[in-house]
Symmetry: C2
Subunit: 623 residues, 2 copies
Amino acid sequence: MSPKITTELLKQLRQVMKNPRFVQEPVQAYIVPSGDAHQSEYIAPCDCRRAFISGFDGSAGTAIVTEQHAAMWTDGRYFLQAAHQMDSNWTLMKMGLKDTPTQEDWLVSVLPEGSKVGVDPFIIPADQWKRMSKVLRSAGHDLVPVKENLIDTIWTDCPQRPCKPLITLDLSYTGVSWRDKIVALRSKMAERKVMWFVVTALDEVAWLFNLRGSDVEYNPVFFAYAIIGMNTIRLFIDGDRMMDPAVREHLQLDSTLEPEFKIQVMPYGSILSELQAVGAGLSPKEKVWLSDKASYALTEAIPKAYRYLTPYTPICIAKAVKNAVETEGMRRAHIKDAVALCELFNWLEKEVPKGTVTEIVAADKAEEFRSQQKDFVELSFATISSTGPNGAIIHYKPVPETNRTLSVNEIYLLDSGAQYKDGTTDVTRTMHFGTPSAYEKECFTYVLKGHIAVSAAIFPNGTKGHLLDSFARSALWDCGLDYLHGTGHGVGSFLNVHEGPCGISYKTFADEPLEAGMIVSDEPGYYEDGSFGIRIENVVLVIPAETKYNFKNRGSLTFEPLTLVPIQTKMIDVSLLTEKECNWVNEYHRKCREVVGAELERQGRHEALRWLLRETEPVARGQ
Amino acid sequence: MSPKITTELLKQLRQVMKNPRFVQEPVQAYIVPSGDAHQSEYIAPCDCRRAFISGFDGSAGTAIVTEQHAAMWTDGRYFLQAAHQMDSNWTLMKMGLKDTPTQEDWLVSVLPEGSKVGVDPFIIPADQWKRMSKVLRSAGHDLVPVKENLIDTIWTDCPQRPCKPLITLDLSYTGVSWRDKIVALRSKMAERKVMWFVVTALDEVAWLFNLRGSDVEYNPVFFAYAIIGMNTIRLFIDGDRMMDPAVREHLQLDSTLEPEFKIQVMPYGSILSELQAVGAGLSPKEKVWLSDKASYALTEAIPKAYRYLTPYTPICIAKAVKNAVETEGMRRAHIKDAVALCELFNWLEKEVPKGTVTEIVAADKAEEFRSQQKDFVELSFATISSTGPNGAIIHYKPVPETNRTLSVNEIYLLDSGAQYKDGTTDVTRTMHFGTPSAYEKECFTYVLKGHIAVSAAIFPNGTKGHLLDSFARSALWDCGLDYLHGTGHGVGSFLNVHEGPCGISYKTFADEPLEAGMIVSDEPGYYEDGSFGIRIENVVLVIPAETKYNFKNRGSLTFEPLTLVPIQTKMIDVSLLTEKECNWVNEYHRKCREVVGAELERQGRHEALRWLLRETEPVARGQ
C-alpha cells in the first residue's frame, strides 16, 4: 500500500470551496463523511468520496478539509491502514485516544472567526448535524448545507450510480408478504399517532417490499427510498428495473388493488421534493416518522414540529425478529455454508504443507466452494483471510502487497460469509495446520471459553445485548488479556451482514432488548500484534430457554448456534475447560456431525465428511 | 401504614397555584420533586415537601399536581409503599413499566392548551429542566420557575432548616489538607480553561473543606455552597458555626494567608446573588464549571455561553478515589463494624429462639453494639431489619405497624451501616436461626455465587462498573431468577453511603471507569414476594490485580473486601459451589478470623470471638 498523492486534489477542492458556482458563500472547511445518502455501512463506488479525496478506504472515517489542513478521523481498527494509505497532506485523528480532539473541537481550534463549515446535507445524518452545528454555532461558526457535493465536482472519473436488476422474494423466503408488512407498519404508525413514515435505509426498503438488489457489493440492496402514508405507498427508484415483469407482478403494479396498497413508483431523485410537498401539506398533529439517522436534507424537509424521530424505526425492529420461514432459511444457509467450509478446511489441510496457498488463494477457494451451494448469491463481506501477524489486524483483507502464504507454523484466521437467497452467513474459524504452541492454545482456549459463555448464557427476556458482553471477556480478563472490539452484531436474513438494533458490545449504544427470533454473532477474539490473531465466531439465534424457575413470569432466553462448523480441537487446551464447557464443545460437535454430516453425505462429499467426522471427535478433560 | 389524607392540602395547593401573591401567572400544574437545593439523596425534614403533600416518604419520587389530578412517579422499590401511603387523590405512576407515561408525556396528555407548569427552580436540576422544558414547549406549554416554593406556603408547621455544629477532620483522617484539595481543584480548572467552579453538592463541600456536619440524618454533611475562583474562595454557610474556634482554626479564618487561600464566609442564602454577580462580571472565554445536575436557579445565574457543565465534577471524581489514609480509615471502620455485628449475631442466636426479638429490637441492638465502637458518629442509613416476607421489600424499614418477630422458622435480612469518624460502612447479611429449607439454601447460594463473581472479578483498568453487573446475576439467570436492583454503589469516606461517580448496575448511567482506590458495594440479592429476601453485601476496595499477562500494558484491577463479617455457611448449599468459589469462601472467612478475631480479642469480647470462630469454619465440597 503506497499512499495516494492528494496535493492536486486538495488544491482543487479548496478552489471549489470558494467557487460561487458551487457554494453560496465560500466555506472555510468541508466535511466528507463516509456514508451515502442512506447512511449505509457498505457503499457503492460512486459514494466512496472520502476514499477518493484521501486515499483511505477503510469502512469508517470522516475527512475534513480546511484552507490549511486536511484531517481524517477513524477508529482503532484502521489506524495502521489509514496511516499507510494517506500522504503527508493528511493528519490522522485517532478516535478513542484520550488526546484526540472531536471533529467539532478541532474545527473550533483551527478555523478563523465566523467561518462557514460546509457539508452535503444528504450525506450527513440529522443527529450528527445537530450535534456538530450546536458546537460550531456556540463558537461563532456556521455549519452550512452545500447542495452540490463538492467532491463530485472534482471527481472527473466518478463511477455511475449502480442500477442493477432486482430479485423478488416470495413467501417461501420471507414468510410475510409486503402487503402484510405494510399493514403491520401502519398499525405501528397508528399506535404512535404518526401519519407518514419515510424509509431511508436501503435494507429497510428491501425488507419492506421483499425485494433484493445488487447495487452495493456484499449487501443485497438497491438504491431506493419509500414514503408510506396511511393510504399511500410511494417507492422512489430509478432505471428500467420497474419494467421487469417479475417485479411488476411481485409489487402488483398492474393489478387492480385497494388504493392503500397501490404503489406509486417515482424517480429516486424526486424524494426530496416529494417529501417537501408532504411536509408542506401537513395538518396540525400530523407527524412524520423518520430515523434520527436519516439525512439532514430529508429531515429538514419536514417542519420541526411535525417530525417524529426515533433511533430505530419500526421496520428496523420488525426486521430483526426473524419469523419461522426466515429462521428455517437461515438454518439451511448455514448448513450449506458449513459444507463449503468443511470442503475448504479439508482442502487446506492437504494443500497448506505444500507452501502454495496464499491468503488470497484460500479466500478464493472459500468463495469457490460456497458458490457451488444452492441459492448462493455473493459473499456477505470481504473475506478476512489472514495468517500469522496479518491475523492481528482485526479488519484485514488480503491484497497482493500483504498476501502471505499459509504454513504449518502459523495460525490461520478465516472470517467469511455469504449471501444465499435463503440467508446470510458470517463465520470465523482459527486453525493451525501444524502444531500450535502452548501459548497459542492457551489464548485460543480463553477465547473459546468466552464464546461458550455467551452462547450458553441464559438471561431474562428483555435483556439488552450489552449486558452479555463481559461474559465473552471474563476468561481473558482473568489472565490480563482482552480484545478491542465488540462481541456481536445483528445479522440480516439475506440482507446486510451487520444490522441493528441489537448487538453484544461493551459500548452502551442504544441497543434494543434481545428477543426470541433475533439473530446475532458471537465472536470474541484475541490479537497479539505482530504475531497472530484468534477469533471464534458463530451466528446464533435467540431462543426461549427452559429454566428451573421463572422469576415474575418474565421468561428466559438463550442462544442456539446456527453456524455448524467444527472448532479446531487441536487448538484447545482441554485442561483449561470446565466440565460444562467441555460438554458444550462435544455437544456442538455432535450437532455439526449430525446436521452437516447428513448434508455432506447427501451432496456426496465423502472426503469432507471424513474430515468432519475426525474434527468432531469428542474431547475429554482427562487428556 | 394508613394513607395520608391529602384532600384539604391539595385544595390549598391548587389555590396558591393561582394566587398572584406567589405566582406571576397561574400555573396549571406544579411539580414537587424529591430533592433539596443540592440534589441530595437524603434530605432534611424541611425539604421533605413531596412527602408532606402526598404522604409517600420513600427516597425517590416526583409529585405533579394539576387542577384535576395528582400523580406520583416512583420506581419499583417503592410501588408497594407508595400505594400504601397515598390516598385516593393520587395516581401512582410506576416507573420502569412499559405503559407508564413519562412526566412530560403525562402533562401533555392532561393539560389544557397553552398551560404553565411551575416548579421551584432551586429544587429541579438543570438537566431535568432542560429535558422537560423542551417536551412541554414543543407541545405548546411552558415550564416556569416559581420563586417561592408553593409547598412551603401551605406547610404551616414546616420544620426549620437544621444548622448543627461542624466537625473538623485533620490529616490523620483525610490524608490531604483542604488547601491541597483547592490547589488540585484549581489545576483541574486550569486544564479545562475554567475560571470558576461552583460546589453545589453537600458532600462535595464537606469533602473539599475537610469538614463534616449533621444537618441531614445519616449523611455527615451541612448546608453550604462554595464558589472557587482561581484566586478566591467563597463559602456560603449559615449560623454561628463559623464562630467555633476549632472551625476557625481549621479553615485558618483568622490567619494571615496568601489571598488565594483566604476563605470569604457568606450567608447561605446569598449564593444566587453572588453567583449572578460572578456571571455578570465574566470576560469573554471565562467559563464557570457546574455539575449538570446543579439546580436550574444556579445554572441560569451564569449566561449560557459561559457555562461549563459536566455530569461529574472534578471533586466528585477526586473524592471517589480514596487515598492511603482514607483507605486505612475505611479498613479500621469496617473492623469495628464487624466486631459490632459479631456481637449482634451472637446475641441474636441466643435471643431469637425466645421469641422476644422484633425487627426493631434487632435494629436497635445493632446500633447499640456499633455505638460502643471508637469514633462512632451515627448510622449511615436507616437499618433494614427484616424477617420473612418483610425481607422481600427491598427498601424495608421496620415501623411499629409492620414490626415482625424474628423466629427460627424465617430468614432474617439485616442491611445496616454506620458513620465512624474514620469511615462509612454498609453491610448486609442474611441469616437463618433455625434450619433453612433446601430452596432457601439454593437461592442463597446463587446470590453468594453472584457476590463472589463480582468480588473476585479481574478486569482491565478503565472498565466501567456496569460491565460487571451481569457477573452478579449469571448464577441466578441460569435458573430463571434475578433481582430488580443494581449490584453496587460508591461509598464515601465518612461521607454519604451512596456516592458517585462509579457503581455496578445494569442501568447504563454515565458511570466513570473504576480505578484503584475507589470503594463500592457488592450486593446481589434474591427476593421472593411474600416469603423472604436474601442479600449478601460487602463494601469492596478496587485494587490492582496481578495477572499472568498484561494486554497493551493496561494493567488489571480486582476487589478486596473491606467488610469482614462471616457469611452464614449454614445457608450455603456447598454442592452448588465450584472449587474456586469454595476456596473464596474459606479464604474470606480465614481473613475474618484473623483480622476481626484479633480485634475481638483486643476488646475482650470472648463470646463473640467464639461465635466468629465457629461461623468461620471452612466448608468443603465433599460435604
